[in-house]
Symmetry: C2
Subunit: 208 residues, 2 copies
């Protein structure tokens, strides 16, 4: 670097700070500016408060893995749901991601098991059946005496396509395959419903 020149603008901060900024900026929904703000915020905390975040992340990556049966997150070999004998494991709810399980659990309406696919089919993003945990689901169907699969993939194009694909794959088996109902959200307003949701609510209307 010639005398009088300014240092490279890409390396604006102390390297260890820049590294934290870069890692934060990789997270979804966090831009360069927010990442900067977070890193500097950590540096403004007492050292042990900042360390706690780093340690928590390392501990999580070390201790938490996928349940060997349903691929939920767990610190054990089997997750707390799979190892709960009071639940009905002949009923399996198929979800895209581990966090979907906690959403369904909070309804207190489901007492079966789960299977986490790890995503949804998406030809555009190069996600085919072999990128999802479909072979693992087939293996479970062969061995676990599952009687019903509840397709709880997201009500999106990709989630619907995934549910449809799985329904076809398992058609030949003696099995009930169901899909979460689509329709108006409870407490919603007809005025604010989009046409597709309203159309599905009509198609799925039930006798009173």
């Amino acid at each position: 670097m010639a005398i009088g020149q300014y240092p490279d603008v890409d390396m604006r901060f102390e390297p260890p700070v820049q590294k934290v900024i870069d890692e934060f900026a990789r997270l979804p929904g966090i831009g360069a500016k927010t990442a900067q703000r977070l890193a500097f915020h950590l540096m403004s905390l007492p050292r042990d408060a900042a360390e706690r975040l780093g340690e928590a992340v390392l501990e999580m990556t070390e201790q938490v893995r996928n349940c060997s049966r349903c691929f939920n997150l767990t610190s054990q070999d089997l997750c707390s749901i799979c190892s709960d004998t009071r639940r009905d494991h002949t009923l399996v709810c198929v979800v895209e991601r581990p966090q979907d399980i906690s959403v369904i659990e909070r309804t207190n309406e489901f007492r079966g098991g789960y299977h986490v696919l790890g995503g949804a089919l998406s030809p555009l993003r190069g996600i085919g059946p072999e990128q999802l945990r479909i072979p693992e689901l087939e293996r479970r169907m062969d061995t676990e005496g599952i009687l019903e699969l509840v397709m709880a993939t997201n009500p999106t194009l990709e989630g619907d396509a995934t549910a449809l694909y799985l329904a076809r794959v398992f058609k030949s088996r003696e099995l009930r395959i169901t899909r979460l109902a689509s329709g108006l959200p409870v407490g919603g307003d007809l005025d604010y419903a989009d046409e597709i949701t309203l159309g599905r609510a009509l198609a799925g209307r039930r006798q009173m």
Copy 2:
């Protein structure tokens, strides 16, 4: 826990995951929902990618400290600005936070040193002169032969009050004390300027 009861809703996730969520949620601008999304995102990454974030944070807390002279962030005893002999260290720019230094550096208009106060005076939040690095600044004034202090605290109530307070404290010294100009942002539109900014632009008008 009685049979049939559901586990405590507060402990919805595996403890190591919950811990990461809690730590993320402590960061400014990150709510409970975003914290959850970030933690699950980390768990969806290959293990070494998630570890990188944790390690970067720990490395930063370990290696980066405050410059012993100006309190900028640095991995050394003196920061790169304080140890740069080509800069004019008789000119010191007083800022609230370390990140303000990089903003000023990017203008390429300032070739002096800095002093990081660590905040601004705020009676409401209990931040008085003794919570800021004002004694350290006085010590520098005694020993370093500083000729000009540029007050670059934020153009807010608190930043203004801090600049004013410092100007009074150092009034008796042989010293030039200046303040960043307030006025219309370059490229801005009169229509969009607030009254206070416009008022300051008028009061600070310069002969052409």
